[in-house]
Symmetry: C2
Subunit: 201 residues, 2 copies
């Protein structure tokens, strides 16, 4: 999935106009005429951003937003509405919506918001990728190696680790060397920095 602007609005005129606007600015745009239609197309791997009309036949934009939140959506959402009120906007933003724009909107303004949202998603995606690769390396560890790693990160000596796991120091050394290799680090400090911010129970 390359970065794309997903547009959900039941008004064909708006879909056409916005689609044209976005494409004229070099942005790929996929339109859906209903929340339901977008839901079937949605996957956690989508990247870019989501333009979401609030008032629609069937599931509303707000309902779709809630549903996507449950599904773990990370795509930044920009709400579009002609009938928004303040509490609605406040609630949407506090739930994590990226923006909330009233119709009629200024074309340049909207495109700017879209570009910001895409930039935000790109950045999140990059940090996700590195944390995924880290998770992969952690998964490749054996149970013992993970136990040893945890104790190393607790700042304990091999001797103490051996004691707590009821194994010989030599075995700890082996696990230590192996897990350093798998995690791609050369020292405990590097490991600690790599793992900082990660859960590793």
């Amino acid at each position: 999935m390359s970065t794309t602007v997903y547009l959900v609005d039941d008004d064909e005129a708006i879909r056409d106009a916005l689609g044209w606007l976005l494409q004229s600015r070099g942005l790929e745009c996929h339109s859906h005429e209903s929340a339901e239609a977008f839901l079937t197309a949605w996957s956690p791997t989508l990247s870019g951003c989501l333009l979401l009309d609030i008032r629609m036949n069937g599931m509303s934009g707000l309902q779709l937003f809630d549903k996507l939140l449950e599904l773990g959506n990370r795509l930044p959402v920009i709400f579009l509405t002609g009938h928004g009120d303040v509490p609605m906007a406040v609630s949407a933003l506090k739930k994590g919506a990226f923006d909330f724009v009233e119709k009629p909107f200024d074309d340049n303004e909207l495109v700017n918001r879209v570009l910001e949202a895409i930039a935000c998603d790109t950045q999140r995606r990059a940090s996700d990728a590195s944390s995924d690769s880290l998770k992969g390396r952690i998964d490749s560890l054996t149970t013992r190696e993970r136990q040893v790693m945890t104790l190393i990160l607790a700042g304990k000596f091999n001797k103490v680790i051996a004691d707590e796991l009821n194994i010989s120091m030599r075995t700890v050394e082996v696990h230590r060397a192996n897990l350093f290799e798998k995690m791609g680090v050369r020292t405990a400090v590097e490991l600690s920095q790599l793992m900082s911010g990660q859960a590793h129970s």
Copy 2:
């Protein structure tokens, strides 16, 4: 400064009503009749939250908010307004306001928002405190000790550090022991975890 609700509104009736409401819920409340008056009372050490009316004579609530942002305010801000519109609310929230409430408001609702804001501030304050104490410990390090620490955090051996600083390994050992003592850690791993997320150039 104990945790207090700061209220800025140029309508005396509202100040009285809100002040009464908050105090009846056990919340200390300090009222100010203008943005200017609050500004002179403001200090970075205030804790609690700020209830801010938007439409006021003189400096508006939004202007005060911007000014406080420049001054480095960390107090959560809840806007109160009888004439808010969606773009205004969106802009305020995107700038970091804690909430945006329209008048007339439900008493319980508002008190809940205030309690949330206070909880949020209390939490931030706690994490600030520990990071301040950390900063203090870092400040207590000598120049050399800081240099050595940086290299330790880069995962380098004493030998390499000695080389890079053109001093003997023994000297590095001394600095290392001293800075561990000052930072309150026993191993490089603990130091690394302590410093994770901190800048230490």
